[in-house]
């Protein structure tokens, strides 16, 4: 027994080193569980407040660029106004309504909620974006996030009272279901951890027709993003020798370096779809 105490005293610093290293690696590996417990509550609020103060200054210098982006966005939206379209029969009048059902019986599925980017990173291996809007302002977990020109930015992973953390496309766990505009082959968009603004598209068979400059869209297979939001354009096509797939490099639509305003997309039918999937899963298990 005495020897054990002597051993601990002799190597006390080394043991502390091992313990702290172990704890750090535990944090890295069990990122999600720990993150939920501590970060989404206290730490997000604290770092969020500091970041907001900084952003007040930074925002001023980017006003010109932000303005251009919003003007472009406005142009796109104005072109979709009902007044721009004419019906051959003038006896009917279109009345828009704010309730979920419009007069044609369409149901609102997607809702865009604008949010200000409070902090953003591109240099790390796992990048996060913080939004200055949280549960108190209707943001929820697992919502998709796009920039003003409808390019995919990422997915919300944590929300606190006033802030939300978005896992950007530049993250090792980021996987977005995507489709080629030409041909319609579906694959997955991931990031290889190197160059920001360059993404990888995997799981595209070699028989698919791909060419440089082709557009890649969201597939709409998941409940996070609607169909047809732009992810990027094909920049380089590398045939993977070991498999039957291409490895495709994309140039991302979003410029991750200067995000100021983004939109979170809420899916009103998500609960219903998830419920349905759950029952289906239960049935197949029994």
């Amino acid at each position: 027994m005495r020897n054990i105490f002597l051993f601990i005293r002799l190597y006390f610093n080394f043991i502390v080193l091992l313990l702290l290293q172990g704890f750090s690696i535990y944090l890295i590996v069990h990122y999600n569980t720990f993150h939920k417990a501590v970060f989404s509550g206290v730490m997000n609020e604290v770092t969020g407040k500091v970041n907001t103060e900084y952003n007040k200054v930074d925002y001023y210098f980017q006003l010109k660029k932000t303005n251009q982006q919003l003007a472009k966005d406005n142009e796109r939206l104005r072109n979709q106004l009902k007044e721009n379209f004419e019906r051959p029969d003038t006896t009917t009048k279109i009345v828009s309504d704010s309730i979920p059902y419009d007069t044609l019986g369409n149901r609102r599925k997607w809702m865009y909620l604008s949010a200000k980017v409070v902090s953003n990173s591109v240099a790390a291996q796992n990048n996060f974006i913080v939004l200055g809007r949280g549960t108190g302002q209707q943001l929820k977990k697992d919502e998709g996030v796009v920039d003003p020109n409808n390019g995919v930015v990422g997915i919300i992973t944590d929300v606190s009272e006033n802030f939300a953390v978005v896992m950007s496309l530049l993250h090792k766990d980021s996987k977005i279901s995507a489709k080629l505009k030409k041909g319609g082959d579906a694959g997955q968009v991931i990031w290889d951890g190197k160059d920001p603004n360059r993404l990888s598209l995997t799981d595209i068979r070699k028989s698919a027709k791909v060419a440089r400059g082709d557009t890649v869209y969201t597939s709409g297979f998941t409940t996070t993003f609607p169909y047809g939001l732009m992810i990027g354009t094909i920049d380089e096509i590398i045939p993977d020798k070991s498999t039957n797939n291409y490895l495709i490099k994309l140039k991302s639509t979003v410029n991750f370096y200067n995000l100021q305003y983004v939109y979170a997309i809420e899916n009103y039918q998500k609960e219903e779809i998830n419920q349905l999937l759950k029952t289906a899963n239960n049935k197949s298990n029994n």
């Binding site: 080193l17 704890f23 750090s24 890295i28 970060f39 160059d195």
Partner: protein, 177 residues
């Protein structure tokens, strides 16, 4: 200014500079400049080794909180805090020099070269361990080695510049140990 207050101010300033200046400078995706761990390099000689590691963990964890990615910088900081006393023992010029001065600096280490070696080794270890942990998740090791070397070079350059601009006046204390 007392040592404690000086170090608290240093802690906050270095974290703020790292988060709001250096993390927003995008030189190249291969090069990530780091300066915040200068706090560990400048910690007083007198501090106990366990305390050094715990403070280093707190420093790394604070930076991790800003990046929403706990663990990486904390691990790297703890490692260099552990190695620091060994390096100081090798490099300190004469017996008792670490009690004559308060903290490591070119003057207390007996010249610029020993200090540069001290800073260089700790920077390299910090970057290597940090990028190694990150590379484990992606698994491209050539990329990891090149990134470590380039980032070490740029961080070391930053440290030298900081040393030249903010030269710390350290008085030689009497030898009444």
């Amino acid at each position: 200014m007392s040592t404690l207050i000086k170090n608290i101010v240093r802690f906050i300033l270095l974290i703020l500079v790292q988060v709001f200046v250096l993390d927003r400078v995008h030189v190249h995706f291969m090069v990530t400049p780091y300066i915040y761990f200068l706090f560990i390099l400048w910690m007083p000689f007198k501090l106990g080794r366990t305390a050094q590691m715990l403070i280093a963990f707190a420093l790394g964890f604070t930076l991790d909180s800003f990046r929403h990615n706990p663990g990486f910088h904390a691990a790297a900081c703890v490692l260099i805090a552990y190695l620091r006393p060994f390096l100081i023992n090798i490099l300190i010029p004469q017996e008792g020099a670490d009690s004559n001065y308060e903290e490591p600096s070119p003057k207390s280490m007996g010249g610029f070269m020993p200090y540069l070696f001290y800073a260089g080794v700790l920077t390299l270890v910090h970057h290597a361990w940090l990028f190694f942990l990150e590379a484990l998740q992606f698994g491209n090791f050539w990329y990891f080695i090149i990134k470590t070397l380039l980032s070490t070079a740029i961080s070391l350059l930053l440290i030298i510049i900081v040393e030249l601009i903010f030269s710390r006046k350290q008085q030689f204390r009497t030898n009444t140990v």
